[in-house]
């Protein structure tokens, strides 16, 4: 084994680029360890753990790039270093040759685009609040993808935004659609008359996708970041978003999407809802139906219901078919027949946090006892995220899984080891997976996992075993990755691709229930 550690002074690269590069390098045959990262305290620790923290690396600062590789041979090492160099520098040269202008300061960026009206911020959390404040002071609306921003900073920013009449979407806001442009992680959804305000990224994506599938469209989709309904923030952006959509002529129906907020925040939101003249659907997952209905809004307990109710409010003539089809029942029966006695449990490996919550809610309503790392109820909490117990749903995008790694929506391959593990587990009856297409997401999410799925499934087959794999693809037909192609490759392995996260969950419940109705 041979290793090399290099420090490039003052060579800042963003963490998403570096992490996906590290991922690619680790995938090279003969590479044992690879770290390509800025020399932050955390990354130095990481380096120390793999015994590559040299004295020079210890001295490096957050502005310096560390390239550390351990490989089986000198040849592989040199090739890998060359590969890293190319990957990092190719970007620079292509920048130069195109007429594309890249700014090094906010002022310069504003020189290039004087009438800019939105800033998307994806810098490390400790600096994000400052950049957001600078952008707001320049009169820009802000979307903060960055997380790890303190709640105090979040409140100050949102108060500043409210004072200036500007959007502060986030921190930790993954999805928005403004003027038909998808920001960060968003699907290509038809234009329409339903306005959304969501404190959840994949929740917003799923509602928008389902609206699209029902044949309707979205006017604006405002993300607020997951903590907006926390009592310390008090739903500032959800309230601002609600008012803006109320005033927006394109928007005929408004839908709110969130996990249930604190009581006092819910009261404040519902009070505002009661003043809105347009139909409002409140999709608070596992929320307080009575309180919502008292405000004059329609209550929706799940994401898909939020989409359905919003569509229904827009067009009362629409027929919503919620019945489980006979084909699906037959499918469940067939699957059930091919399971062995020990195979009793659903194992869900999700990339989308709110899709996990929705699945949990649906399985619970089907009478199943489920454990999950997104659970709020004590009895549903999972003790050890690395070990599934009974029916288990995992949000693989949770911080515990993503420390120092990209989110699985960016790098779906991070889920592969666990996919294999759950498939081979003799208690697993159904493996539930989600795939997110759209802007921001991986170019080929299915492609990243297809080999693992196909190999493990045929391994099982050779052992005379079978596990039902049910996938849901949160995507529209228009999404850039090509919906049908993604679906076809899963179908070819005998994987059932459901029409919604709800359908996937219900089908899973049917297969594992003792009798299929």
């Amino acid at each position: 084994m041979i290793s090399k550690v290099m420090i490039e002074k003052n060579a800042y690269h963003d963490s998403v680029t570096l992490m996906s590069l590290s991922g690619k390098v680790l995938g090279v045959e003969g590479v044992e360890e690879a770290v390509v990262s800025m020399a932050t305290g955390m990354n130095k620790e990481l380096l120390d753990n793999i015994h590559l923290l040299t004295d020079e690396a210890k001295e490096a600062t957050e502005n310096d790039l560390i390239i550390a590789v351990k490989a089986v041979s000198e040849e592989v090492l040199e090739e890998t270093l060359q590969f890293i160099d190319d990957a990092l520098n190719k970007k620079k040269s292509s920048k130069k040759s195109g007429q594309e202008q890249t700014a090094e300061t906010l002022n310069k960026a504003l020189d290039y685009l004087p009438d800019a009206n939105m800033a998307i911020i994806s810098v490390p959390g400790e600096y994000a609040a400052r950049e957001a404040r600078l952008a707001l002071n320049k009169g820009l609306h802000v979307m903060m993808f960055s997380d790890n921003v303190t709640i105090e900073d979040e409140r100050k920013l949102k108060e500043l935004g409210r004072e200036k009449g500007l959007l502060v979407m986030g921190p930790d806001c993954g999805t928005a659609m403004i003027n038909q442009t998808g920001l960060c992680f968003a699907n290509n959804v038809k234009q329409g008359e339903i306005g959304l305000v969501a404190a959840s990224g994949t929740g917003l994506q799923e509602v928008a996708v389902q609206i699209d599938r029902l044949g309707y469209g979205v006017s604006q989709a405002i993300g607020t970041g997951g903590r907006d309904l926390h009592k310390d923030i008090g739903g500032i952006m959800m309230l601002e978003g609600l008012r803006a959509l109320d005033a927006d002529e394109q928007t005929k129906v408004i839908a709110l999407i969130s996990k249930p907020p604190a009581k006092e925040v819910q009261d404040k939101i519902l009070e505002e809802v009661s003043k809105i003249n347009k139909p409002v659907v409140v999709g608070f997952l596992d929320g307080d139906q009575v309180a919502v209905e008292q405000s004059g809004a329609v209550f929706a307990p799940t994401l898909i219901e939020t989409a359905r109710q919003a569509v229904k409010a827009l067009d009362s003539s629409v027929t919503l078919d919620k019945e489980i089809s006979e084909t699906l029942v037959n499918y469940a029966q067939n699957e059930q027949a091919s399971l062995q006695d020990k195979q009793q449990y659903i194992r869900g490996l999700f990339c989308g946090g709110t899709l996990t919550s929705e699945a949990l809610s649906i399985l619970r309503s089907e009478g199943l006892a489920v454990k999950s790392n997104v659970a709020k109820k004590a009895e549903e909490k999972l003790d050890n995220i690395h070990e599934s117990v009974g029916h288990t749903l995992l949000d693989m995008g949770d911080d515990d899984f993503t420390k120092g790694k990209p989110h699985p929506m960016i790098e779906p391959s991070l889920r592969n080891d666990r996919i294999r593990e759950e498939l081979l587990n003799e208690e697993t009856a159904v493996l539930l997976l989600d795939f997110e297409l759209g802007y921001g997401s991986h170019e080929d999410p299915v492609g990243e996992s297809i080999a693992t799925l196909s190999e493990t499934l045929s391994e099982l087959k050779n052992q005379g075993r079978h596990v039902s794999v049910i996938a849901y693809m949160c995507a529209t037909k228009q999404d850039k990755q090509g919906y049908q192609n993604q679906v076809d490759r899963l179908s070819a392995l005998g994987i059932y691709v459901a029409a919604s996260n709800e359908e996937a969950s219900k089908l899973a419940a049917m297969i594992t229930s003792k009798e299929v109705k």
Binding site: T17, T102, A103, K108, S122, I178, N179, G182, G440
Partner: protein, 475 residues
């Protein structure tokens, strides 16, 4: 209607701060967007970020900086005389030697500076030979001081000893003066640490023949307008630090007629004007004190974050800031220059960055004006595009644009000037300097030229000090 509804009615235009992945998908959607390749401000130092946030929008700082750049721009330097250093430089005496850069003790000096000082001691007749000179210095008989603290500047080692003739520059707008020796030319010269007989003989010739002749010529003039020459030379391909061909020619054109009016013999005349004609860096030793006279006028403005000095002594790089003390230097180890080497030399031969000539960059010319000096690019390495990019980049860290010193290749935009420590820290962009490289051993001479930046630590320290000094007062 809130701004949010206004947004809904406008085309979305995005500044993407951070990962470029999001920008790519905006491009795909044909949404207009600009990528801002963000880096942690202030190198990620939270104390500095706090200091920045405290002073970035401070109106007192803005006003003080406007005043600083007004003074720098308004300064009008004239060459009025040449005289012995001891006669004109305040605080100069028979046993005092000035050097470039921030203060430094003899034992810490770099090779070329030591060599030049030894040469100066012998030149002054204080010692017979090198050994005696060293002995005298080690006994503490010679007082050293930074030229910059004495209204003076010197290229490379920057040595000024009492008998040396210095150009006397008068800033007629503000009334202050600045001083600089006569450029000796290239090859074996004192400023690179050479101190052989040939070097000292040339210095003596400058003192006894050249300076008296120039003095006679200058006495007839009303002063030679250096601002005008600099401004013209910048339109003729000079940046007035490493390229002074045009400026030297313009100076020659100005002075020649006055020389002809003196009582010098034809031979004396040919020898003296030939010295100017044969040294295309003659004007460097006028460009530097001209810049110095403007920047000294801008020093000492309370609340100003404008840099008034950048200088190197071959060991450390030092800066001074207008709103901070007269003798308050912020120093860090000098960087090595990156660039082209003369045949036979490599990076291992070079001394760290050296000399007061960065006074030109502090003024907003030199490296800052490189975009208008395509020819210099061949000298320091790189492409013309790079040079233009450097000049453009400097607007990000400066307070103003000097329309007196405009850059043709930037559509005659006024050059970036008035380096603001706050902006340097916020943007992580360091001033760009183009410079010669001295051999690390005394007397070998120049080994190459290239690009160098000040260490960022100088600016960091200055900002912290600025915060200590002003945070209570202005809050």
């Amino acid at each position: 209607m809130s701004q949010i509804n206004t947004l809904f009615s406008q085309p979305l235009k995005v500044i993407n701060i951070g990962t470029s992945t999001f920008k790519k998908d905006l491009d795909l959607q044909q949404t207009e967007a600009v990528q801002y390749d963000w880096r942690p401000p202030a190198g990620g130092n939270l104390e500095l970020i706090e200091a920045l946030d405290r002073f970035m929008e401070d109106p007192k700082v803005q006003a003080a900086n406007e005043e600083a750049i007004k003074r720098i721009k308004d300064a009008h330097p004239f060459l009025i005389d040449i005289d012995h250093a001891k006669n004109v430089i305040p605080g100069m005496h028979e046993k005092k030697i000035l050097h470039s850069g921030p203060p430094i003790a003899w034992e810490n000096m770099c090779g070329p500076v030591k060599g030049a000082i030894i040469g100066a001691v012998m030149y002054e007749g204080l010692a017979e030979d090198e050994a005696a000179a060293i002995q005298l210095i080690e006994k503490g008989e010679i007082e050293f001081g930074p030229a910059n603290e004495h209204q003076a500047v010197g290229p490379m080692a920057g040595i000024i000893s009492p008998s040396m003739p210095v150009h006397v520059i008068e800033n007629r707008t503000h009334g202050n003066r600045a001083y600089c020796t006569v450029n000796e030319g290239l090859g074996k010269v004192l400023r690179f640490g050479a101190n052989s007989k040939e070097v000292l003989d040339r210095l003596k010739w400058i003192e006894t023949v050249f300076a008296p002749a120039l003095r006679k010529a200058l006495a007839i003039t009303d002063g030679i307008d250096l601002k005008s020459i600099t401004s013209q030379a910048l339109h003729m391909g000079d940046e007035c630090h490493n390229r002074n061909k045009a400026a030297t020619s313009l100076f020659y054109r100005e002075i020649i007629d006055y020389f002809l009016q003196t009582d010098l013999t034809a031979d004396e005349l040919r020898e003296v004007v030939g010295f100017i004609k044969n040294n295309e860096h003659y004007f460097l030793n006028l460009s530097m004190p001209a810049s110095k006279s403007a920047l000294d006028a801008a020093h000492g403005i309370p609340h100003s974050t404008v840099v008034t000095t950048m200088a190197r002594n071959g060991v450390e790089f030092g800066i001074r800031v207008s709103g901070l003390g007269e003798k308050e230097w912020f120093t860090a180890p000098a960087n090595f220059v990156k660039g082209l080497f003369f045949p036979g030399y490599t990076e291992d031969d070079a001394a760290p960055d050296l000399g007061d000539s960065t006074i030109t960059e502090t003024m907003g010319i030199g490296g800052f004006a490189m975009g208008g000096s395509p020819a210099i690019v061949q000298f320091v390495g790189g492409d013309v595009e790079d040079a233009i990019a450097y000049s453009e980049q400097m607007y990000e860290i400066t307070v103003g644009e000097n329309t007196n010193y405009s850059i043709p290749t930037l559509n005659f935009r006024g050059g970036a000037f008035g380096i603001d420590i706050r902006k340097v820290i916020e943007t992580n962009i360091l001033p760009v300097i183009n410079t010669g490289m001295a051999h690390k051993e005394a007397g070998v001479g120049q080994v190459g030229a290239g690009i160098v930046h000040p260490p960022k630590a100088c600016f960091d320290q200055a900002m912290i000090r600025f915060k200590e000094l002003y945070e209570e007062e202005t809050s």
